[in-house]
Structure formats: structure tokens, C-alpha cells
Amino acid sequence: MSIDNPPTVEVDEPEEPTNRPRPDHELRAWLSRGYVRKILALTIVFVLVIVPIAWLVIHFMNLSGAPASAIMVEIERTMFVFTLVSSPLMAITLAILVYSLVGWGRVSGDEPPMQESPAIRTNGRAVVIWIAATSILAGFLVVWGLIELATITAYANGSTPPNQQPHAARAIDINVTGQQWLWTFQYPDQGNIQASTLVVPVNVPLYFNVTSKDVVHDFWVVELGVKIDANPGAITNTGVTPDKLGTFNIRCAELCGLHHAYMETQIKVVTQDQFDAWVRDMGGKRTV
């Protein structure tokens, strides 16, 4: 302000300062402009349109089955929160886009338009507000993500959500081996029985040692939110505690050659008794 007004202006003119809005009135004056109100209204409308998408996203994720582990619950919660949190930014962007097309007038024709738009070089306040808002948003997402990552890592290691009892049963180790193009599951604690379909007891922590015989595969238990690469020459670890009975999908999520699309199997989450019976049938030892 002071740079724009050279001292040649006589400051003792009484009318001069009143032409300018006082700082505390600036926001009100700005909000009283028609286009500002319309853009804000449009923003609210878009927020109301976008927010239901958060439920839609969860709906699509649940089409093949509701989350079957605490990890998957956290993943869906993160999707939901991220959609909600990013909705105002998306809405205001769309509102300005739409209003720019219809609100401030348009020019068509073949010749360059003669009337020029206002020469707005920059606006310090707008820049600061935008950077602050996006930084706070990004900061929130980072913090949320770090906490969630720590949470699901703990769940993968057999912890339980805070409102639940710790798991009574001992964790079951399962050696997962990918090869072109099938999965093999080996239960070292149950007498090394092998299966091509994963059968596990409900509410017992599972600990996967994942490797591959040939190329890189990716062990994806869809409804349980488990995913880890199966690398040749290395063992990768992850874990989960299924908390729902049922049959869920296991897919390969890394292109592994000719029949990658068919490299899928199932995980059957059963009760402890059914699991023990299954282990007996397979010729293994009972769990202790």
C-alpha cells in the first residue's frame, strides 16, 4: 500500500481515506460482491455433490464382500476420510471453473477480443490463504497416513484394535509361495501340510512368509486388505487377523507372465473347530 501511494498525495484531504475500505470491512465488502457469493454457493453445492461419493467409494469396495479384517476397516476409513477432506478443495476448483465459463461473460468470434480483463497480477492474501489451506490439508493427510500406517502395521503383527481383547490364540505361520501361475500355502506349525486354497481359523493372527520360485508375484488377499510382493530369492513378511467367516479372494497383483490373470485362489476363513478338522484331514498335526 505504502509503495503504491507516493508521498506526493496530500494526506490531509478528508475524503481521501474514506474512499478506501477499512481492513475490517474488506472481507465483508469482498463477500458482498455478487460473483463471490455465487462461487461460494456453487462450492457448497459441489461439496454436497462430492460428499456422497465417499459412501459410493466404500460401496464399490464392498461389492465383493465387506471388510474381513481390522486392516481393511482402516483402509476403507482412510479412503472415506480422504474423500471428505479433499472435497472442499475439489469443490472450490470446480466452482471457479464453472463460474469462469458462465459468470464473468464470454467472448466468441474469430478476431481477438478487444475488451481486456482486469489486470490482476497477484494477490498476496489469496496466495497466502491458498498455500496455508493446501499445506494444512496435506499436513493432515500426512499425519493421518502415518498414524494409519503405524496402526495397520501393528494389526499385521497381531495386535488387536483398542476396543477388543488381545487374541488368545497363538499366531499361525503360513509360508506362501508364488510360482507361475499358482499359489502354494504351507503350514509349518501344523506339520508342514500344503494346500492350494488357504484355510484359516477366524480371529487368529496369521503371519505370512511370502516368496516366489520364479518371477515377482504379488500376494493380494482382497477383502482382508493384505498385499505384499512375492520376490524370488527373498522372503517378505506381512500378517492379518481375519475377523469374519467366509470365503474371500486371493489374486496376483503383479504381472507375472502368460496366465497372470488366472493366478487366483481363495481364502476360507472357518471356525477353530473346522480348521482343526481340516488340518486332521490334510494329515497334519492339531494346533496346540
Binding site: 483402509i75 471457479i96 467472448v107 490482476i120 491458498w130 515377482v216 482382497v222 504381472l255
Partner: protein, 648 residues
């Protein structure tokens, strides 16, 4: 043009002696001699090599494939060397070795003076010729990649049957990916960086005109090895070619590695040239705060290409070495590591996305001010945004490897850096929105591309924030959601921005106006087809459909059918747009030198642009965004406060 000749002659520089006619050896070379010499050398190498390499390969069971791979690699490199020699790329170095300097007449001949249309088929150094060559090349590559995309969607749409053999299907996935990546890397910096940028900064040519020709013809030579892979067993491993799957691949895979190695040279040469030109060749008076933002964008993109492309090249040199001399960099059985490949690959793989998006975004910023008659909002924020994206893009690559099991706790720092990149990226959105603010858009096609691209960028950006989060990635990684996300970024924000830039600079580059009625029809058809295709693909990904599959559960049928319908609509739209480009180029109405009323330098010279761009080099006295009228709401300008004082 005569004026420039005068300028040169009045300088009292001793000219080297003219050996023979201007141009010398280059008078006899063209793409024809290049093709002949490349094919001859390739055939000779194959014939000789098959006597040496193949028996070498049969000595040991481990080496059965190695001999063949070495033979094919040698043949491909022979093709590249033969082609480059045949088209005259070696003429300069040989002339140096013989102690002959270029005369001014030689240089003008090499720039294509007096050769008519034939100069587009020669080793021509004029940046405008190279720009047009890049434009056509990128359209050919995009057409080829787009055709493969149609094949992919055909396979995925017809769920009740397999249309293609699985091997062929995997090959077209990989080839589509890498062809599109190459096409998108060149689609803005190639045509517009070469044709427009030197004029925009008031230069007569690029800093290194012969390197400019070298970068294009290296790219040209790199494409046949890639395209031929479909005949030699194909790239069956996606564009990423994760190892050790890549080492199992048939001999066609060698074509991929040779192409990447050569293409990285081409990109490096082009990046050095663009950066040097922008830094050293600006017109007098074009200080850094007066540089058009497109130039800043191209510099940013070139820096990333220059720094990170070698990583991609190393990754493929090691992979080629695994294939042709049986080393084990990536083979875990003999102590190699698959994670080594993944790290080297993604060190480029992620900055590459910004290499594509940044010049396109900068081009849109450049044109939107013209169509809004308004200065760019916060030039400095735009520059800061580009700088921030360049800086942070180099420390985010591990977000492609969250699920690989390599250093599981790396998820924490790389989630932090990845989500932080949304802040400088937000700067760019702010600049575009601020420029739109209270402007009256002139609703021509280039301007409409701005709206389309901002929408795509918002969708792609927000889905990118999901994917940067490790827990979400644990569900989404390797699913169709990822595919839809990066298509929103690369195609929605990258390709559509390139379309806007093409529509904007078409009059300057071709001398004719684009038939906007047809072109807009094509663009909007493609745009709505695009939304249908990739919105449906988001749904498929959320439902849990893995990517790169050719058969899937019935649960994913509806979203895939919609996606395929959308893909065909994109195809139709792109064909209409291509038709508009071709017919306008041949029969369009003649364009004036400044049809949009732009203020940057490229619009101040005549159309078609003369050989050395400007009769007299311009001197810049203001910034390029000097549009607009005093803002009634803005801070009261100096004139207004003075006026009452004068009247009283």
C-alpha cells in the same frame, strides 16, 4: 531473410575456406540413404553375428537364449549406427577430425535453405524443421499406441471370450505403455520446445543446432527396434518390464532395452540443448522475470529428464547385460536383486510423470493469458511451483514400491514426501484458477482445453493423494484404480494439454488456421469418452480388479463394458481431431502472423517464420503478460490518486 544475411556479412569475421559446394557430404544424405545404410549394416551384422554369437550361445544350457539375444542386440545397434551414419550424423565429427570448419554457407545448407519440403527428410538443423518432425513423430507414436489401446479394450470388453492369444495380449499391454510414455515425453517439449521456444526467447536457433537434429534422428532410429518387438515375441511384461520376468522374455525384449538406451541419449541431448538455449540465448532485455512461463516449464522438465533419464538407461543397460552376457544383476538365483531394478527404474519412473505434465501445464498457462486478456496470476508462484515439483519429484520414487517388501519402513518418509508434492502442485492450480478469476474467456479450442485439463488434473491429483497413502495403496496397488489414476494424469492432463498447445501454435507452425469446428468436435468426443472409460476403470479398481489381466470375474463386467465403450468413443474423437489437423494443414485458411493477439515474441515475427526467425533480433522491454485494464477492485493505482491532485 536477406536482412539476416546482411547482418552476417557486415561482421568482419574471417570465414573458413569453402570445400566444394555448400553442405558437402550432406548434399547426398537423407532419410533414404539412412534407411539403406541402416538396413544394410543390420543385415551384414546379423549375417556375420549368426556365425559367432549363436554357436557361442549353444555351448552351455544356461546360454541358449544368450547367443540369440546378443545377435539381436548387435543387429539393432548396427541398425542405429548405420542409420545415423547414413543420414549424415557423423559428417560433423569427421569434418572436425579432418580440420574442416563449417562455412556460413554450409551452415545455411544444413539448416535446410532452399531445399523445400525435402528438408524434413534430411539431417536438418533448423529448429523449426526439427519441431515439425517431432510433431509428426509424436502423432505417429500416439496413433500407434492408441491403436494398441483399442485392442486392449477390445479384449477386456468381450468378457465371454478371449480375443487375443495371452502372449500377444501381454505384448500389446507392454508396447502400448512404453510407446505412449515415449510419445508423451516428446509431445510438448519436442514440437513446441523446439519450434516455438527459440522464437519465444528471441533467438535465431537453438544453442546446438546439430545436436537438435541428432536428438530427433536418434529418436527416429530408436523406434523400429521397439515396434519390431511385436514380431519377435513381444514385450510381455508391461512397460515396467520387472525383472526377472524380463529375462525370461523372448528376443523381442532386446528391442525394448535398445530403444530405451538410445532414447535416453536422445532425451539427454535434447534436454541439454533446451536448457542451454533458454539460459544463454534469450533476447536482450529478457531478464528472468520476463521469461515466458512456457520456457520455465520446459527448463524444469528438461532438468528432470537430464538428471533422471540416465537411471532408466542404467537399469536397461544392466538388464541387457543380463540377457546378452549372462550377468546376474537382477537374477536372485545368482545373487542379484529384483529390488535393484525396481529402484533404478522408478528413479526415472516417477519424475517422468512430471516430465510429461509440467511442459503441458506451462503451455496452457502461456495460452490462457492470451484468451483471457489478463496477466498470468502470480508468475513467481508458478515458478516456485515448477521448482518445488522438480525438487520433490526426485525423492518420491519409492511410493511405487510400498508393496514390494523392500525396506517396509520406507513407507513413512516416502509417504511424507509424496504427499508434500501436492503443495507445489497446488501452486500451479492456484496460478491457473487465479488467472481465470474475473476473466472473460475467449472460448476457442485452446482455451477450452484449459478447462478440460484442470478438471482432469483435479481428479487425477486427488486419486493420486489416495495412492500416496500406504494403507490405501495396500488395497489399490496393482489394481485398475492405479491405471485410471495415471491415465487421468498422463492423458487427461498431459495429452489434452498437448492438444491445447497444438491448437494454439498450429497457425504459427503450419501457417494455416486449424479447422476449429471439426477439431473441437473431435476433442470433446475424446474428452467425454475419456471420462467414461476411466471413471468406470476407477470403479473396477475399487472393486478389486487387478491390472494387466486379460480375463476377470463377472463382478467387473459392467465397469469394463462401459470402459470399452468409452475407449471406442475416445478413438473416434481422436480420429476426428486427426482429420481436422491433416485437412487444416493442407487446405486450411492462411493464418495471419498473430491470429490470437498474443504478446510473446513468437507472435511478433511473420508467418511462415523465416529461416533465422527475425530480420533483426528483438529487444525486450516489458514482460510478456502485459494484458488487462486497471482493476476497479484492486489497490488504487498511482494514476488515480494523482489525478484529483492535478485537477484541484
Amino acid at each position: 531473410m536477406s536482412a539476416t544475411a546482411v547482418v552476417h556479412e557486415t561482421r568482419d569475421v574471417p570465414q573458413p575456406r569453402q570445400h566444394g559446394k555448400p553442405g558437402g557430404f550432406l548434399r547426398h544424405t537423407s532419410i533414404v540413404t539412412g534407411l539403406v545404410s541402416g538396413i544394410v549394416l543390420a543385415v551384414v551384422t546379423y549375417a556375420i553375428g549368426s556365425h559367432f554369437f549363436v554357436p557361442w550361445g549353444t555351448q552351455n544350457a544356461d546360454f541358449t537364449q544368450v547367443g540369440l539375444n546378443a545377435l539381436i542386440a548387435a543387429t539393432y545397434f548396427a541398425w542405429v549406427i548405420g542409420f545415423m551414419a547414413g543420414i549424415g550424423a557423423l559428417a560433423g565429427p569427421i569434418r572436425w577430425a579432418l580440420g574442416h570448419d563449417l562455412t556460413h554457407d554450409d551452415a545455411e545448407y544444413m539448416a535446410g535453405k532452399g531445399q523445400g519440403k525435402w528438408r524434413y527428410w534430411k539431417y536438418t538443423t533448423d529448429h523449426k524443421v526439427v519441431g515439425i518432425q517431432y510433431l509428426v513423430m509424436s502423432m505417429v507414436l500416439l496413433g500407434f499406441g492408441g491403436f494398441l489401446a483399442m485392442l486392449i479394450r477390445t479384449e477386456l470388453g468381450a468378457t465371454w471370450t478371449e480375443v487375443f492369444d495371452p502372449n500377444f495380449y501381454n505384448s500389446i499391454i507392454g508396447t502400448h505403455g512404453i510407446v505412449m510414455i515415449i510419445a508423451l515425453i516428446i509431445v510438448v517439449t519436442g514440437p513446441f520446445g523446439n519450434f516455438i521456444l527459440p522464437i519465444m526467447i528471441g533467438a535465431r536457433d537453438m544453442a546446438f543446432p546439430r545436436l537438435n537434429a541428432l536428438s530427433f534422428w536418434l529418436l527416429f532410429a530408436a523406434v523400429p527396434p521397439l515396434a519390431s518387438n511385436l514380431l519377435l515375441g513381444g514385450i510381455r511384461d508391461g512397460w515396467t518390464v520387472y525383472q526377472p520376468l524380463g529375462t525370461q522374455a523372448p528376443i523381442g525384449m532386446v528391442g525394448y532395452q535398445v530403444t530405451i538406451i538410445i532414447f535416453a541419449f536422445s532425451t539427454g541431448v535434447a534436454s541439454v540443448n533446451l536448457i542451454t538455449t533458454s539460459v544463454t540465448m534469450r533476447a536482450r532485455g529478457m531478464t528472468w522475470n520476463r521469461v515466458p512461463v512456457f520456457v520455465i516449464g520446459v527448463i524444469a522438465s528438461s532438468i528432470m529428464g537430464l538428471v533422471w533419464f540416465p537411471m532408466f538407461q542404467y537399469s536397461q543397460i544392466l538388464a541387457l547385460s543380463d540377457k546378452v552376457i549372462n550377468t546376474s544383476f537382477y537374477n536372485p538365483v545368482h545373487g542379484g536383486s529384483v529390488w535393484l531394478y525396481e529402484n533404478l527404474f522408478w528413479l526415472l519412473g516417477h519424475p517422468e510423470v512430471y516430465v510429461v505434465i509440467i511442459p503441458g501445464t506451462a503451455a496452457l498457462m502461456e495460452l490462457m493469458v492470451v484468451f483471457l486478456r489478463k496477466p498470468l496470476f502470480s508468475y513467481k508462484v508458478a515458478v516456485a511451483g515448477f521448482a518445488g515439483v522438480v525438487a520433490i519429484s526426485s525423492i518420491v520414487w519409492v511410493h511405487h514400491m510400498y508393496m514390494t517388501g523392500w525396506a517396509p519402513s520406507s513407507g513413512y518418509p516416502f509417504m511424507l514426501s509424496t504427499e508434500l508434492i501436492s503443495i507445489p502442485f497446488g501452486f500451479l492450480v492456484l496460478v491457473m484458477l487465479g488467472t481465470l478469476w474475473r476473466g472473460k474467456p475467449w472460448t476457442r479450442l485452446p482455451m477450452m482445453c484449459v478447462y478440460a485439463v484442470i478438471w482432469d488434473k483435479v481428479v487425477g491429483g486427488i486419486t493420486g493423494v489416495y495412492l500416496s497413502d500406504v494403507p490405501v495403496d495396500q488395497y489399490m496397488h496393482g489394481s485398475m484404480f492405479v491405471v485410471a489414476h495415471f491415465h487421468y494424469m498422463l492423458m487427461g492432463a498431459g495429452l489434452f494439454a498437448a492438444i491445447g498447445a497444438t491448437a494454439y501454435w498450429f497457425p504459427k507452425m503450419t501457417g494455416r488456421m486449424l479447422n476449429e469446428r471439426v477439431a473441437s468436435t473431435g476433442f470433446w468426443t475424446a474428452f467425454f469418452g475419456f471420462q467414461l472409460t476411466f471413471m468406470s476403470m476407477f470403479v473396477a479398481g475399487l472393486q478389486g480388479m487387478p491390472r494387466r489381466v486379460l480375463q476377470f470375474d463377472n463382478a467387473f463386467n459392467i465397469s469394463n463394458w462401459l470402459s470399452t465403450i468409452g475407449a471406442y468413443i475416445i478413438g473416434i474423437g481422436m480420429l476426428i481431431f486427426l482429420y481436422a489437423i491433416i485437412t487444416s494443414w493442407r487446405h486450411g485458411t492462411i493464418a495471419s502472423s498473430n491470429p490470437w493477439g498474443g504478446k510473446t515474441l513468437e507472435w511478433q515475427t511473420e508467418t511462415p517464420v523465416p529461416l533465422e526467425n527475425f530480420p533483426v533480433l528483438p529487444v525486450v522491454t516489458g514482460d510478456p503478460y502485459d494484458y488487462g485494464v486497471p482493476d476497479p477492485y484492486g489497490p488504487i493505482p498511482v494514476e488515480d490518486t494523482r489525478e484529483p491532485a492535478v485537477t484541484r
